[in-house]
């Protein structure tokens, strides 16, 4: 039956109660190089920390609806290096970000001009590991203009670039993104091409770029397909991310995919490269990633001292029992 009016019945039918089993990968560390934490809850942070995610990168992107003034961009960028970074540190996860003008909003040229003026104020901030996510959406002239200008900025600043490749006309859009990056003088090893699929990966790797894959249900890659990609293309310059945002997405995409890879017989070395090491190598070219910070994130970004004061003051967020009906 296609159109069930009885919601109660339908919902009961859909209710799935299983427990996520990540035992296979317990003890492993993960790095999610693309996740929009601004649109996620503290439950997600907790689950990510529990699953072994020690650090992440939050690329600047659009907010689901267009901004109307430059101050909204200032506040957004500030929140990425301020409040969101703090929120993350409360769960022991080191938070980095990339800063840039996303492709959609590049089409509002009047605003884009103003955003370009404020970008230099943010790209040299601590923990800013690249310019991103930038590139094409509709592949308009305005998108190309601001993509090129931001590539110039990245080159000047010596920062890696995180490229968003378009959903529509993806293969050509990806090729064009790489062509333009080369034209603007960027070395392929400084460019992370994101949202790859089976159709784009070969050329991206052949040309020496980093190939990132977004494990995102329905619209991007599924992780069974990802396992096949790694089997076929190996782990060199390949990385995965969740790109989790406000849509139906999964902030545990990286550890879950690691578990699936392990079940599928992919070597631990390759899993480590794809889910942790390659992303660090690529973005550490910014000079802004220190792995020691993954361990000391609580001490550095939170209260400087734990010893002399209550654990709550400087320590992690208290854990609540989600399975209890008691809320105290």
């Amino acid at each position: 039956m296609c159109c069930n009016d009885n919601f109660q019945e339908r919902n009961e039918g859909e209710k799935i109660q299983t427990i996520l089993d990540l035992n296979d990968i317990s003890g492993m560390k993960f790095f999610d190089p693309h996740v929009h934490m601004t649109s996620r809850t503290t439950d997600d942070y907790q689950a990510m920390a529990d699953a072994g995610i020690v650090a992440l990168i939050e690329p600047a992107f659009w907010l689901g609806q267009p901004r109307t003034g430059v101050d909204s961009f200032t506040d957004y960028y500030s929140s990425l290096i301020g409040w969101e970074r703090f929120r993350s540190s409360q769960f022991g996860i080191k938070h980095y970000c990339t800063i840039g003008l996303n492709s959609r909003e590049a089409n509002n040229e009047k605003l884009a001009e103003q955003v370009m003026e404020i970008l230099p104020q943010f790209i040299f901030k601590e923990g800013v590991v690249g310019i991103g996510e930038i590139g094409f959406d509709d592949q308009t002239a305005a998108e190309e203009k601001y993509y090129r200008l931001q590539l110039d900025l990245a080159l000047e600043a010596g920062l890696p670039v995180q490229i968003h490749t378009p959903h529509r006309d993806k293969k050509k859009g990806t090729q064009r993104s790489m062509d333009i990056a080369i034209e603007q003088g960027l070395a392929p090893h400084m460019v992370i091409v994101d949202h790859n699929n089976e159709e784009t990966v070969k050329e991206v790797l052949d040309r020496g770029f980093w190939a990132a894959f977004t494990i995102y249900p329905f619209t991007k890659m599924g992780n069974e397909r990802m396992v096949e990609v790694v089997k076929q293309y190996g782990s060199e310059r390949v990385m995965i991310n969740s790109a989790a945002d406000w849509g139906i997405s999964d902030p545990l995409a990286v550890p879950k995919t690691a578990a699936l890879m392990k079940k599928s017989g992919i070597s631990l070395k390759d899993i480590e490269l794809v889910t942790y090491r390659n992303a660090i190598t690529a973005f550490a070219q910014s000079g802004q990633i220190d792995e020691h910070d993954f361990v000391t994130v609580k001490n550095i970004d939170q209260s400087q001292k734990f010893e002399s004061n209550s654990i709550l003051r400087g320590g992690q967020q208290p854990r609540i029992n989600k399975n209890s009906i008691i809320i105290s």
Binding site: Y77, S78, F86, I118, Q121, K125, E126, D301, N309, R313
Partner: protein, 236 residues
């Protein structure tokens, strides 16, 4: 009104630089001093903005090594001020802020305020730590009040702990917010400069309500709250 005089500020500048010089590599120290010269001479804020953001890459975030006599000197120069637990990037940033020319109040305000507007967490910590050292102290009151609204623990601590600015310049309402916020965010109120000097009836009343509220919720009450209420009664 000012917390300290120009000579004391110069002395604090000197002590800070002394600590910094001891710990920075020769290369980093040269970089910092060159940037400071540029900050002193530029009309706009370009060098200041860049150097302020770039600084930890040169300074590191190691703890500072401060000598006991330096600690003592700091306390004498600026009552309540204490930098013992600072990191090197924080001290370097605050030292850099002390180099911003203050001849023109509007220009000075614009430069420092611009840093606040685009600041990340650790930059905010340095900026709020520097409140008692800024020129024209009255113009930073609303900024300080804004900082107290922060939810970031380290930022709150930069304002609350060993910082003589709030007690000296905040009006009663804002001061009381600072103290209440300290209790609500479980800060160590004993580190707040001027806590007992600035006791007042309104604060004691609110704290009494707070005690009742905690009792009703079956939550614990910090002994400091009772102490503050008691002391207010004795004082008034």
């Amino acid at each position: 009104m000012s917390l300290t005089d120009k000579q004391a500020i110069r002395d604090l500048d000197h002590i800070s630089l002394q600590i910094i010089s001891r710990q920075l590599s020769a290369e980093s120290l040269t970089w910092l001093k060159a940037k400071a010269e540029m900050v002193k001479s530029e009309g706009k804020s370009f060098q200041l903005n860049m150097a302020f953001a770039h600084l930890p890459r040169f300074s590191s975030k190691a703890d500072i090594n401060i000598e006991p006599e330096e600690n003592k000197a700091v306390a004498q120069l600026l009552h309540g001020f204490k930098i013992t637990d600072w990191t090197l990037d924080r001290l370097c940033r605050v030292w850099l802020l002390m180099q911003v020319p203050a001849d023109d109040q509007d220009v000075y305000f614009k430069k420092i305020n611009g840093l606040f507007t685009a600041s990340e967490m650790n930059e905010q910590v340095a900026l709020y730590s520097a409140l008692p050292l800024f020129h024209y102290p009255e113009i930073w009151v609303s900024r300080c009040e804004e900082g107290i609204r922060s939810n970031i623990g380290t930022v709150l601590e930069a304002i609350m702990y060993h910082n003589p600015y709030p007690a000296a310049f905040l009006a009663e309402g804002a001061w009381n917010q600072l103290v209440l916020k300290a209790f609500f965010t479980e800060k160590d109120v004993n580190l707040i400069v001027g806590l007992y000097e600035r006791l007042n009836k309104a604060l004691a009343n609110t704290l009494e309500d707070y005690v009742q509220e905690r009792l009703a919720a079956h939550r614990t009450i910090l002994p400091e709250i009772y102490k503050l209420i008691e002391q207010t009664k004795e004082k008034i």
